[in-house]
């Protein structure tokens, strides 16, 4: 395939934020691909090779909906995850293609944020070493840069040690800007922790120290709690841009189909409060669609106008 690369004059996400105030990222990939036929138990990243047009469609749909940042179909693209499918030796190919598909679909002027998810390994359990984890992230992120990404988003993290290892792997081996987002559960009034017990303030300190350029939160229980999480991140790291990508609420199963309760209008209505709390990049996670992103983009424009 012809490879598109990022525009020669493309400005960094940090500069774009300074210029525009608020940027809009994309919405869900997993639920979008499932709607296109990705079956349960199938490797999503293999679709980069076997269904490239469908993958490109997702990226294009978000760019057309108004995303300034569009991610790549590589969330589970680490060696540890791909090994489950017997694809561990294809890390380079699958990730490079993921980035190239998004880059080609969105053109040179939209930021391509390479998606990097958790490996599923817990360092303190001793099932992998920090060095093995670092090597796996390096291998994946280097391939994503080669494919045309200009940033990477290390997302849905819950453990500081794993996130910090991924950030170091990105910073020490690529020139990508690094966004790092954690997933929090509400455990009490205005209290949020990841399943590993990490608070927004603890996370902010650790990932900034490791070199992240943007911090934030994704997935979780909907936009409502994200306002408080953004405020806590902002209080812990006042000068750092914050990205928020919320689910469209928690899914309920209606006649065998996952239904996410928050409509584009529901989510758009919370955008002013999010920006007020300190969020600079707003987008969606599970269950959000291009319609959600279009509504969020409109709300963001109106808030900053």
């Amino acid at each position: 395939m012809g490879r598109a690369t990022k525009g020669n004059h493309m400005i960094s996400i940090l500069d774009a934020l300074a210029k525009k105030g608020v940027l809009v990222s994309d919405g869900a990939w997993g639920t979008f691909l499932a709607a296109k036929g990705l079956a349960v138990g199938e490797c999503p990243e293999l679709w980069n090779i076997e269904h490239p047009d469908d993958v490109a469609d997702v990226a294009r749909a978000y760019a057309e909906a108004g995303s300034d940042l569009v991610s790549t179909n590589s969330f589970g693209g680490s060696r540890f995850k791909l090994d489950h499918f017997g694809l561990g030796e294809r890390v380079g190919e699958l990730n490079e293609t993921a980035a190239a598909l998004t880059r080609t679909a969105v053109g040179p002027d939209v930021h391509v944020t390479a998606s990097v998810g958790p490996t599923g390994k817990i360092l303190m359990m001793g099932d992998v070493t920090e060095e093995q984890l670092y090597d796996a992230f390096r291998e994946q992120i280097v391939a994503l840069e080669r494919g045309g990404a200009d940033a990477c988003v290390i997302e849905t993290m819950t453990a500081i040690d794993e996130a910090v290892t991924a950030i170091r792997a990105a910073k020490e081996n690529t020139s990508l800007e690094v966004i790092c987002t954690f997933t929090y559960d509400k455990i009490g009034e205005d209290m949020y922790r990841t399943m590993m017990g990490v608070s927004p303030a603890d996370m902010a300190a650790a990932v900034l120290d490791a070199g992240a350029d943007v911090i934030g939160s994704n997935c979780g229980q909907g936009l409502e709690g994200m306002v408080e999480i953004a405020a806590q991140l902002h209080a812990a790291a006042p000068g750092t841009p914050i990205m928020v990508q919320a689910n469209a609420g928690l899914p309920t199963r209606v006649d065998g189909v996952d239904t996410f309760p928050e409509t584009p209008e529901d989510m758009a209505a919370r955008v002013p409060a999010l920006i007020e709390a300190g969020a600079g990049i707003v987008g969606g996670c599970c269950g959000t669609t291009p319609a959600h992103i279009a509504a969020i983009a409109k709300a963001a424009r109106e808030t900053t106008a």
Partner: protein
Amino acid sequence: MEELLEQLAVCVERGKVNAASPYPPDMKGEDGADELTKKALDEGIAPDDVLAKGLVIGMGRVGQKFSENKVFVPDLLMAAKAMSAGMAYLKPFFEAGEAHHKGVFIIGTVQGDLHDIGKNLVAMVVEGGGWKVVDLGVDVSPEKFVEAVSENDGCVVGLSALLTTTMVNMEKTVALIKKSAPGTKVVVGGAPLTAEFAEKIGADGYSADPQGALSFLDV
């Protein structure tokens, strides 16, 4: 004897594996679950008491705190590690029939789902509750569950799923188990699940956390 078993329970609860372990910092240099289990057995305390009145008590406390969001995954993992250090000494007694499990618990993540963290936590807490755990791993087919059930008379089965898309396979698995071994109890859990869903698919129990699964088993 009570004092020693209580000390052992505290070691498990706090995740104090052995004397050499630097964790938790405030117990540095003290004996851990490793040394204390050995000491208890050397003193002639019955293996069943070491298990039930020491190790299981500690694991129960940390499991309870976990379900109350007072401690988190790392605390549970360290507690399980301490528990294992003690269990290593009990193994020969189980094999010789001098120590006893409460029963057999078969656990696995359902077909199509590769997530194992939640499943592993449940396995640790249930094992820490005195059950023998047979872990079938991830992406386990309904047939494989049925095969394991047939090999373990009177067992209870636990099914895990993290994805909304794999929850459907839970229903298939429950149906096949109930068909081939009627009367086998099945408990389900996982982030996207609810008690209503569990009831709808014919499961006998649902738990939002590992301790709840153990409570279901212990009834």
